[in-house]
Symmetry: C2
Subunit: 325 residues, 2 copies
């Protein structure tokens, strides 16, 4: 199967690397809004102008759209689904139903297949919430994120006056994790679940106390959390905070038995050196599943909930039954 | 949907309890090889003779077969698939392809749908091996079991001369878990991964040293492990070892990036107070999925790899997309 990458940031580069790890896939090329001549890909894959993609429609089996959820994907995914089979990693949870409806309308009309919101959350974490709640209906589930870099929160700090650069880590509170794992099904406030650590490079002469106050009192982003602010140099930022690690936990505890006398804990966790590369790896496995579904005549918008696990694997069904079941 | 339970041991009782936790299901009754008049169910569900089941074929949507993998299921599941939609928890990994073929032939011929090897291993652990290896092709996965009671190993100890009762716990070695989580992809011997703890009630006057030697040198079961043997009284056995806890870990680590420079860890773990009740909860969720697939016209033998996650949930697709994705 021939895959095109649409958008070439961290995620697009991750997809480029992930395709090389899968023998049944081939990278057609990268489509960018920048001047194609100015862009050099990691693997030397060819670069095309994004507005030229229609002319390659016979040569591309599937487009992995690597744009941002805020403004790019709501436009790009429905539009590209008119001509291509597409996958995105749309992650604004509250807007998923609207995005789904728009993509489904486009894909159903054109007869293509689409998958939205693939990745790890939404994605693998969603799958684990679904499996666990279906198996233990009398229970509660909890999602923790981190320790990892939140791009959105880092950007919010960078927009403060006097901030030159910033990196924000979301950190799960160990005591909250332990309480959840105990099976007591606690009610946890936002503050009890996560802390936020900010590393900030201030501009010369900036008022550091004012910056710290601006961060800690910022509504939605920080005011509901215990936040620490550490000022560092640009060199320290480059040396210690260049990577994009992330991860987290989905835990469900639930009761079974005649009178709920037995407690069970299902825990799923990820520890990722590179958030974009791992997300890209999920997208690429999902691309394989979508390609198989399309070959069977399926179309319209799908989510990870609709993908039969067998379709994600490059191995034959006989082989996975014999070796992995 | 109306479900029948075929076989009424620990697993059958677990299914009986699990059905009560799901509003979209109803227990038709329990089928047993024992005298139905002699058997009292936990919830007062009606009891029928196992050889009378054919006469209720119009009233039963699906049969959950709760027999043993060694001798019961290889006969029961193909035979019942001639008349019913069926699910079992066949767990002899090496014989799964043969069991699959037999059940698939019967179900395909009769137009029924069947699911074999549902539970947590095979089952949820298999799913996690499949998802993780599809996402991180350049990696290695590891399955650890326990701490939990192994019925097979407990039975093996009970068959030794002079043993009145026995309970065997399989225990993962913490150092091995840590080594795996580090991402170093170690090669681990059987002995390095698990230890075995035996609690034994000896008969009066039995030669305890001989029993201990017989256990520790038993091929396949114990000789490849570091095994501890502790003699206890029948009272201690009843007080401290009556439960059937189990659990375990599926961990995959893998590399991504242009030159494999980033490492990721995917970990799935279960901590179960009651192995049979949790297995039953998985079977019941799978029954729902199978029922939906049958309603869409599907038939033949399936595995957990073939079930779209959305089908496991009692919630509508719109609801899970809006709330769980």
């Amino acid at each position: 199967m021939k895959i095109a990458i649409y958008g070439y940031g961290n995620l697009g580069r991750g997809v480029e690397c992930a395709i090389r790890q899968n023998d049944d896939m081939e990278l057609f090329g990268v489509f960018t809004r920048r001047d194609p001549a100015s862009l050099k890909t990691l693997t030397g894959a060819p670069v095309y102008a994004s507005d030229s993609i229609e002319q390659y429609k016979e040569e591309i089996d599937l487009v992995i759209i690597c744009g941002g959820s805020a403004t790019d994907l709501p436009k790009m995914t429905p539009r590209l689904a008119e001509t291509f089979n597409v996958i995105d990693s749309f992650d604004t949870h509250a807007n998923i139903p609207a995005h789904y409806a728009a993509v489904d309308a486009a894909a159903a009309k054109s007869g293509h297949i689409a998958l939205i919101s693939a990745g790890w959350d939404p994605g693998l974490f969603s799958l684990n919430r679904l499996y666990a709640s279906s198996i233990l209906p009398d229970g509660a589930d909890y999602t923790f994120w981190g320790r990892g870099v939140s791009q959105g929160h880092s950007d919010a700090v960078r927009r403060i006056d006097g901030v030159k650069d910033a990196r924000q880590y979301t950190v799960p509170v160990p005591a909250a994790l332990d309480k959840v794992r105990s099976g007591s099904m606690p009610t946890l406030s936002t503050r009890e679940k996560h802390t936020r650590e900010c590393f900030v490079v201030a501009e010369d002469g900036a008022d550091k106390a004012a910056i710290e106050t601006a961060i800690k009192t910022m509504p939605n982003y920080f005011s509901d959390y215990d936040t620490t602010v550490t000022f560092i140099t640009q060199e320290e930022m480059q040396k210690n905070h260049a990577a994009l690690p992330h991860g987290g936990f989905v835990i469900r505890t639930g009761k079974t038995g005649l009178n709920g006398e037995h407690t069970h804990t299902i825990e799923y966790s990820l520890k990722l050196d590179s958030n974009p590369e791992f997300t890209a790896s999920v997208l690429v496995a999902c691309a394989r599943a979508l390609y198989k579904m399309k070959a069977r005549g399926d179309s319209g918008c799908k989510t990870v909930f609709d993908l039969a696990p067998a379709d994600l694997s490059p191995k034959s069904r006989d082989e996975i039954i014999a070796k992995m079941l």
